[in-house]
């Protein structure tokens, strides 16, 4: 403020200037006073302002300035000294405050400025977050789209629908112009356009698979941007505008075999399909990353969905196949049943129809045989008889076997004479055996009961079959039949390990062994022997009769009799042994009356003339020797009795028909004598029949006698009748029919 040295004339000429100054000062003061008021007002309004002290200072500064200007108003006119003092004070204060304020501002303004920058920074951040939020939202939407797409895709198991849906949904989600799927052809050398979204292209388009762009896409699992000009992308007719960006992604085609248990399918599969997506051509859109990711995810899902569809197709096909097979099997079963029924009916008819004429032929031929015939006629009739018998046997065999198989065969049980059964079999066998010059020995164990309960006919059939086979396959030597009661240790046979027969009080097990010195059997063939229609003899035999059913039937019968049958052979040329064990019943009362005075009169009391039959008797016991000699003399034989082995061997000539050796001698080994006698005569026809006399019922004696080749064993004491029958048997058969 300057002292104005001008006149105090309140309103001089330049009082206009003064007036203006006056007014300006007034207004300045007003402003100066009102500004702090405003400041206070607004600061009071906002609670945030941190610099109140500054404001106060500022307010003070302004108030004082205002005051100064106000006081300046009074200085325009004459003013008193107080006014001057007040003016001065005001100015001083104002100076002080404004300096203080200036100083303070130096500190404050940078702060204020930084607040501003922070504010700017936050604003930027907010903008960024906004952007990101926008992105996330977009992604979430994408995810939603994917889920929806997947849902759509996976909601169907139909391959076609899956692919179609994929394209449609993708097109919709991403707003595509065109979407296409190229599938590999069967040959795998081309890609074939299978599905498109807009159906604007011929579907038969193919593209070779070895294009570089395709390889590029197939080599990565990511979606790849490709040029719109590549053959796979040239799907739209050339538009006026730039074609939109094209992206291609591979879709692995998984097969069932790609799924291992432990690892997720490795993409070692070579087959891919190609999905091509085109953005609209006249938009400036670009492929965003999230869109590409969406496409990749969708491609994977499609792959899985397709494989599921494929699995389903497979299983449906398999099920259909199974159903077909079931139907076929059912049909086959029905046909088989029909066939079996037809066969049974046929057999039932055959049973009767075929047997009748055969029996007629056999009966009439037998009758014819009895009449007078010329030799040629007789021969013819015999042949007819033989052939018809064979035929009858054949029919019976086949019928029996079929009945056995059906299980309709039942055994007939009855009491029969076991011993006479064996005798009968022997009688039947002896003609053939003697023709072939084979010896047949029969040994019945002494503890074998005479009568047994069982099916006599079938047992005889089995025995005949086995013995017949033995004879058939033996060219020289002979066969030996042994029958005895099987004890529990001999029942257990290593060849039949699961056969555990247990004899009881009502039953016993009969064991029969038929040994032959024939051609033997190859051990490999043994299992086949009991099979139907299999003949083990490749060589032609003299009588190649037989259907090959015999042993099969035997086996069935033996099994029905709760037994077991088997054959052993050491090999070709080493003979064979057929053994069977059958279960027979013991009749209620035993029939053995062994009263010595009740002589059983044999059925055929043929008094054979033994007169002059030369025999040798060897016994070192004089009484015994005399008795035996007397017996034989009584029967009419010419007996030469000796007391020692040497004498015996010396005395025996080819004229002697029978040699009786007492084997109970202590000093002499009768077995040795027997062997020496046999050796003495090389020809079978010269050799006398050798019979052992023993008082010992031990089985081993009989075994030994048989082993050294004796033809029979007689148990002492010998009655006249027994001796008679023994000698007649010996002469008739050449061997002893039974040993008693």
């Amino acid at each position: 403020m300057e002292y104005c040295n001008c006149f105090e004339s309140p309103w001089p000429a330049d009082e206009l200037l003064m007036k203006y100054q006056y007014i300006s000062d007034f207004f300045i003061a007003l402003a100066y006073f009102s500004i702090p008021l405003e400041l206070i007002y607004f600061v009071k309004k906002s609670a945030v302002f941190p610099y109140r002290w500054v404001l106060v200072q500022f307010g003070a500064f302004i108030v004082l300035c205002g005051a100064t200007h106000l006081i300046n108003l009074w200085t325009f006119t004459m003013h008193t000294r107080t006014v001057a003092i007040v003016m001065t004070t005001a100015k001083i204060l104002t100076a002080v405050v404004s300096c203080a304020t200036a100083l303070m501002l130096v500190h404050i303004i940078p702060d204020l400025l930084s607040v501003k920058t922070r504010e700017l920074f936050l604003k930027n951040k907010a903008a960024e977050l906004d952007r990101e939020m926008g992105l996330i939202r977009t992604q979430e939407e994408t995810g939603r789209h994917v889920r929806m797409l997947t849902h759509e895709i996976r909601s169907t198991l139909d391959r076609h629908t899956i692919l179609k849906t994929t394209l449609v949904e993708l097109g919709r989600t991403l707003g595509l112009e065109e979407c296409a799927l190229w599938m590999p052809t069967r040959t795998g050398l081309e890609l074939h356009l299978s599905y498109t979204l807009r159906h604007q292209n011929p579907v038969g388009l193919t593209v070779p698979i070895q294009l570089p762009v395709i390889n590029q896409v197939f080599n990565t699992s990511r979606a790849v941007k490709i040029s719109p000009n590549s053959p796979v992308a040239r799907l739209r007719p050339a538009g006026r505008y730039m074609p939109g960006e094209v992206v291609a992604v591979r879709v692995p085609l998984l097969h069932l075999s790609n799924f291992q248990i432990h690892d997720w399918p490795e993409l070692s599969t070579k087959r891919y399909a190609l999905m091509v997506l085109m953005l609209p051509s006249d938009s400036a859109r670009q492929w965003h990353v999230h869109e590409l990711e969406l496409v990749e995810v969708v491609a994977d899902q499609v792959a899985v969905a397709l494989s599921h569809a494929a699995i389903l197709e497979e299983s449906m096909r398999a099920r259909d196949l199974l159903m077909e097979q079931n139907v076929a099997l059912d049909l086959a079963r029905r046909e088989a049943e029909t066939a079996v029924r037809a066969r049974n009916d046929f057999l039932a008819v055959m049973n009767h129809e075929m047997r009748t004429p055969i029996h007629a032929i056999i009966a009439l031929s037998s009758l014819l045989q009895e009449t007078e015939l010329t030799p040629e006629q007789r021969l013819m009739v015999e042949t007819i008889l033989k052939s018809s018998n064979l035929l009858a046997t054949l029919i019976n065999d086949v019928l029996d076997l079929s009945r056995l198989e059906d299980g309709s065969l039942q055994l007939e049980t009855g009491t029969f004479n076991l011993h006479s059964l064996f005798r009968e079999v022997l009688n039947l066998i002896k003609p053939i055996a003697s023709v072939k010059k084979l010896y047949v020995t029969l040994t019945l164990s002494p503890d074998l009961i005479e009568h047994a309960v069982g099916d006599e006919n079938r047992l005889m059939q089995v025995l005949l079959n086995v013995v017949g086979n033995a004879i058939k396959f033996t060219k020289e030597g002979g066969i030996s039949i042994c029958a005895f009661v099987a004890k529990s240790d001999s029942l257990r046979d290593p060849r039949a390990p699961d056969f555990f027969p247990i004899p009881s009080d009502n039953h016993f097990y009969l064991r029969v062994e038929v040994k032959d010195t024939g051609s033997g059997i190859n051990p490999q063939d043994i299992p086949k022997i009991f099979m139907k229609f299999v003949q083990s003899q490749p060589l032609a035999t003299k009588n190649p009769g037989g259907t090959g059913l015999g042993l099969a039937i035997c086996k069935r019968f033996v099994n029905l009799m709760e037994g077991h049958i088997w054959i052993e052979s050491e090999g070709l040329g080493r003979g064979s042994t057929a053994t069977f064990i059958v279960k027979l019943g013991i009749p209620a009362h035993s029939n053995d009356s062994k009263l010595p005075f009740l002589l059983k009169v044999p059925g055929n009391q043929i008094k054979l003339n033994f007169s002059g039959l030369k025999v040798v008797v060897m016994d070192d016991n004089s009484v015994g020797r005399m008795v035996t000699k007397g017996l034989l003399v009584h029967l009419g034989c010419d007996v030469f009795a000796v007391a020692s082995g040497d004498e015996c061997v010396r005395a025996v000539t080819s004229e002697h028909k029978v040699v009786f050796l007492d084997v109970s001698m202590a000093a002499v080994d009768s077995f040795e004598v027997a062997i020496r006698i046999r050796e003495k005569f090389s020809k079978r026809s010269d050799r006398p029949i050798i019979v052992a006399l023993t008082g010992n019922t031990d089985r081993t004696i009989k075994e030994n006698c048989r082993k050294v080749g004796m033809d029979g064993v007689i148990l002492k004491p010998v009655s006249v009748d027994k001796m008679r029958s023994v000698v007649s048997d010996l002469l008739e058969h050449g061997y002893l029919v039974e040993s008693q």
Partner: protein, 153 residues
């Protein structure tokens, strides 16, 4: 007269069988007697007597020895057993069987006892047989036929 003789012969024979002195083997021997060989039974029986006496003497001698030869004894007993069973002398045979058992056991005491037994039985049967033969001869001299024993009532 012959009938009487025959009847008493049969009774005697029956008694012998019942008492076990003879068994069915003797019957067989009887059967062997025919026209060509009328003395068959006598011959056999005589031979039996000779043989048995010889064997019994042997046995006595053998058992008197210091070192008893059981083998030899067994052989002899075996012979005697054979002869007696050939002729049908049942009791003699049975005692021979017992004798053999003691022989196996090598029991001298037992053997001696058995020997006594056998001797006894032998003498008994010898007497019986001699009587029987005498009866037969009587029948024959009387002109009858010795009845053959076919069956036993």
């Amino acid at each position: 007269m012959e009938v009487q003789l025959q009847r008493s012969y049969l009774e005697y024979t029956n008694a012998l069988f019942r008492e076990g002195f003879l068994d069915g083997q003797f019957v067989q021997l009887q059967l062997l007697r025919d026209d060509s060989n009328p003395d068959f039974v006598v011959e056999v029986v005589t031979l039996f007597f000779e043989d048995s006496e010889r064997i019994l003497n042997e046995l006595s001698r053998a058992l008197d020895d210091q070192n008893v030869d059981f083998k030899k004894i067994d052989a002899n007993v075996h012979q005697l057993k054979g002869s007696s069973s050939s002729i049908g002398a049942q009791r003699v045979r049975n005692s021979c069987i017992a004798f053999r058992n003691f022989c196996d056991e090598q029991n001298v005491e037992g053997c001696l006892r058995c020997l006594q037994q056998v001797k006894q039985e032998y003498l008994l049967v010898k007497a019986k047989l001699e009587a029987l033969i005498r009866l037969e001869q009587q029948i024959v001299t009387a002109g009858g036929v010795v009845p053959t024993l076919n069956e036993f009532s």
